[in-house]
C-alpha cells in the first residue's frame, strides 16, 4: 500500500498550489508591518527589523509587557488600540516560511479522499485490499518531468547545456545515421581547424556547443569532402568553407545573445531572413531517421571515405624539437576535432589508440559502426547464426535446470499435481527442512 510521505512545505518561489494563491503564502512586506507613524518609538523600530518568522521563535511575553506600559508613555488610547490590534494580527497569523529563491517546482499539497461516511453514492463500497486498485500520485517520477526543473533559463537549462557538451546519453547505433553525423563532424572539424585554429580553445568549444546534430544539418553535409593533394581530407567548393563556418558562428553568436538577454537586433533579423531564403532552396531536415540518413548517404559520392584524417602532431613528433611539438600540441588538429565532435553528436567516444590507427575516414567509420561485443555467448551464437542449419543442436540462453529437463519430457505437470495432492512444496523444501527433532523440542511441530 502506498504511503504518503510527510513532506515539509518549503513554499519556494515556484510553489504553485491549486487553491491558495501564492501571494498569500509569501511574507508580507516590511513596510506594512512598520508604518511610518509608529517608527518613532524604539520598540517598534526593533520589531520592524524582525521578520514574522523570527517573531514566532521569540518569547511574546516581554512584548505584551511592553504594550501594557505604553499608556504610561503618554500616547493616545486610540493609537494604542490600533497598535495592539496589529500586534495580535501578527501574533495569530500563520507562520510565513522562508522564501527560497529557486525556480524548482516542489510537490503540491497533499489531497485526501473523503471518508466513507461522507460519500453520497450508495453503490460505493470501500476496498478492503489494495489488489487491483489504480495507483495514483506518488513522487517517484517527480524530477523526471522537465517542467518541474523551472523555466529554460534555470537549472534545467544549465543541466542541458552541461550534458550536451558530452553528447547524447544513448549512443547512435544506426549505421546510416552514424555516417551522416560523422560527415557533419568531419566537415565542421576541417572548417574550424582552418578558420579558428589560432583562437583559444574556449572559443572553439562555443562554436561546437551551440549547434546540435540537426542544426542546419542539410547545409553542412551538403559540403563535399574530397581527397586533397597529399591524400588529406578537404572540402571541394570554396563556398562551402564559408557557409559551414557561418552556420557555426551564427549559432554561437545567437546563443551568446540569448545568454546576455539582448534583444535580437536588425542584424539578426537580416541574418534570419537570409538563412530562411537559403533554406527555401534545400528543405531542412527536422528528424534524422534511418531512412532519411540512408537517402542522404546514397546521394553522396563514395570517394569521400578514402580521404585521410592526418594528425600533424603524430606526423612531426619524431623530426621536430620538443618545444615545437609542445607548440603543435596546442593546435587543434582536424582528427582530434572530428573525434570530439563525433562524441558530441553521436555519443561514441573514440579511444586515442583507435583514433591514431584510423587514418582514413573509412576506417574511422568502421570503428563507429561496429556493433558492441555481446556479453553472452548465447547472444553471439544467435546473432551470427553459427548453428543455423543444424537441426541436432540446441542452444539455451540460460542454465537448464532440473525443472526444465522435466518439462522437456512432459513430466513436470504430473510431478506438480502429485506433489500438491500430497501437500508437499513444489519448489524448495518448505516446512520440511531442518532436523525434525529440533522442532519437537521447540514445540513447533
Amino acid at each position: 500500500m502506498r504511503r504518503i510521505p510527510r513532506l515539509r512545505t518549503p513554499a519556494p518561489a515556484g510553489f504553485a498550489p491549486s487553491s491558495v494563491p501564492a501571494s498569500a503564502l509569501r511574507a508580507p512586506p516590511v513596510t506594512v508591518t512598520a508604518p511610518s507613524t509608529l517608527s518613532s518609538t524604539p520598540r517598534l523600530t526593533t520589531r520592524a527589523s524582525h521578520t514574522s518568522q523570527t517573531r514566532r521563535y521569540l518569547s511574546t511575553t516581554p512584548l505584551r509587557a511592553a504594550q501594557t506600559q505604553q499608556p504610561q508613555n503618554g500616547q493616545g488610547p486610540a493609537e494604542d488600540l490600533q497598535s495592539l490590534a496589529e500586534d495580535d494580527a501578527e501574533l495569530y497569523e500563520a507562520p510565513t516560511p522562508t522564501e527560497i529563491n529557486t525556480q524548482l517546482v516542489y510537490p503540491y499539497g497533499v489531497t485526501t479522499a473523503p471518508l466513507t461516511a461522507e460519500v453520497a453514492d450508495p453503490s460505493y463500497k470501500p476496498a478492503e485490499t489494495a489488489d487491483g486498485l489504480e495507483e495514483v500520485g506518488g513522487l517517484s517520477g517527480w524530477w523526471d518531468e522537465p517542467t518541474h526543473w523551472g523555466s529554460e533559463g534555470g537549472v534545467a537549462g544549465y543541466v542541458h547545456s552541461a550534458t550536451s557538451r558530452f553528447g547524447p546519453a544513448e549512443r547512435v547505433t544506426d549505421s546510416a545515421v552514424l555516417e551522416v553525423l560523422t560527415k557533419r563532424a568531419i566537415v565542421e572539424a576541417i572548417v574550424v581547424a582552418k578558420f579558428a585554429r589560432a583562437n583559444k580553445r574556449k572559443h572553439i568549444d562555443r562554436l561546437f556547443a551551440h549547434s546540435d546534430a540537426l542544426h542546419r544539418l542539410e547545409k553542412i553535409v551538403r559540403a563535399e569532402i574530397v581527397v586533397g593533394k597529399n591524400g588529406e581530407a578537404t572540402i571541394k567548393e570554396n563556398a562551402d568553407w564559408q557557409r559551414v563556418y557561418g552556420v557555426l558562428k551564427a549559432a554561437a553568436r545567437y546563443a551568446r545573445r540569448q545568454e546576455e538577454g539582448e534583444e535580437t537586433g536588425e542584424r539578426d533579423v537580416a541574418e534570419a531572413q537570409e538563412v530562411e531564403a537559403k533554406e527555401a532552396e534545400t528543405p531542412a531536415i527536422e528528424e534524422l531517421t534511418p531512412e532519411v540518413a540512408k537517402s542522404l548517404v546514397e546521394s553522396w559520392d563514395k570517394g569521400w571515405k578514402k580521404a585521410e584524417l592526418r594528425d600533424p602532431v603524430v606526423k612531426f613528433f619524431v623530426s621536430f624539437p620538443f618545444h615545437l611539438v609542445l607548440f603543435m600540441l596546442k593546435l587543434l588538429t582536424p582528427a582530434l576535432q572530428a573525434a570530439k565532435r563525433i562524441q558530441q553528436l553521436t555519443g561514441h567516444r573514440v579511444p586515442d589508440g583507435k583514433l591514431l590507427s584510423a587514418l582514413t575516414i573509412d576506417s574511422l567509420l568502421k570503428q563507429l559502426v561496429e556493433p558492441p561485443k555481446p556479453k553472452k555467448l548465447a547472444e553471439l551464437v544467435e546473432t551470427q547464426g553459427v548453428f543455423k542449419d543444424l537441426s541436432n543442436v540446441r542452444v539455451f540462453p540460460r542454465r537448464v535446470t532440473p525443472i526444465d529437463k522435466e518439462k522437456m519430457v512432459g513430466r513436470w505437470k504430473i510431478i506438480v499435481k502429485e506433489l500438491e495432492k500430497r501437500d508437499l512444496p513444489v519448489i524448495g523444501t518448505g516446512k520440511h527442512s531442518g532436523p525434525i527433532e529440533k522442532k519437537w523440542i521447540e514445540g513447533k511441530a
Binding site: K375, K376, L377, A378, L380, V381, Q384, V386, F387, L390, S391, N392, V393, R394, V395, F396, P397, R398, R399, V400
Partner: protein, 137 residues
C-alpha cells in the same frame, strides 16, 4: 528368363552390416564470465559447428552453467553417461575430448583380457543338469 520366387531386398554382411554409434547426446556447458571457460567458448564458436554437422545422429545441447567449470557430458544408448571437465583447455584439446566421448561405448572402463567379447560365449550353450541323458557314474 528364370522366374524368381522371392526378390532379395537385403544383402547379408555376415553380421556386420550396421553400425550404431553408442553416444546419443552430448551436453556442452560453459560459463560466460569465468576464465576457465575461455577455451570452451572458443570451441563452441569455432569448432563445434563442424563437429555437430559431421555427427547428425548425435543430439547436441549447449547451455550456460554460471560459476562452474566447463564440462562435456555424453549420454549413451546403454543409459549411462560420461562427463569430462575441460577447464582451462584450448579449443583443440576440447575437440579431442569430445571425440573420445563420441567413440566411447558408455560402459565402465575395465581391463580387457579376452580378445573376443560376446554375450553368447559358447556355441554349444550353457550346460544344464536337467537336460540330456545325464551321466551315469
Amino acid at each position: 528368363m528364370p522366374i524368381k520366387a522371392l526378390t532379395q531386398i537385403s544383402t547379408g554382411r555376415n553380421g556386420v552390416g550396421a553400425f550404431v554409434l553408442q553416444c546419443k547426446k552430448m551436453d556442452f556447458h560453459y560459463c560466460d564470465w569465468a576464465g576457465s571457460s575461455k577455451g570452451m567458448n572458443g570451441f563452441i564458436k569455432s569448432l563445434l559447428p563442424k563437429f555437430a554437422a559431421s555427427h547428425p545422429q548425435v543430439e547436441f545441447s549447449v547451455s550456460p552453467r554460471p560459476s562452474k567449470h566447463p564440462v562435456i557430458i555424453a549420454q549413451y544408448i546403454n543409459g549411462r553417461e560420461k562427463a569430462i571437465c575441460v577447464r582451462n583447455m584450448e579449443p583443440y584439446e576440447i575437440l579431442k575430448k569430445a571425440e573420445l566421448l563420441r567413440d566411447a561405448s558408455g560402459e565402465k572402463l575395465r581391463k580387457v583380457t579376452k580378445p573376443v567379447q560376446s554375450i553368447n560365449e559358447s556355441v554349444r550353450g550353457v550346460w544344464s543338469p536337467y537336460h540330456g541323458n545325464g551321466l551315469r557314474v
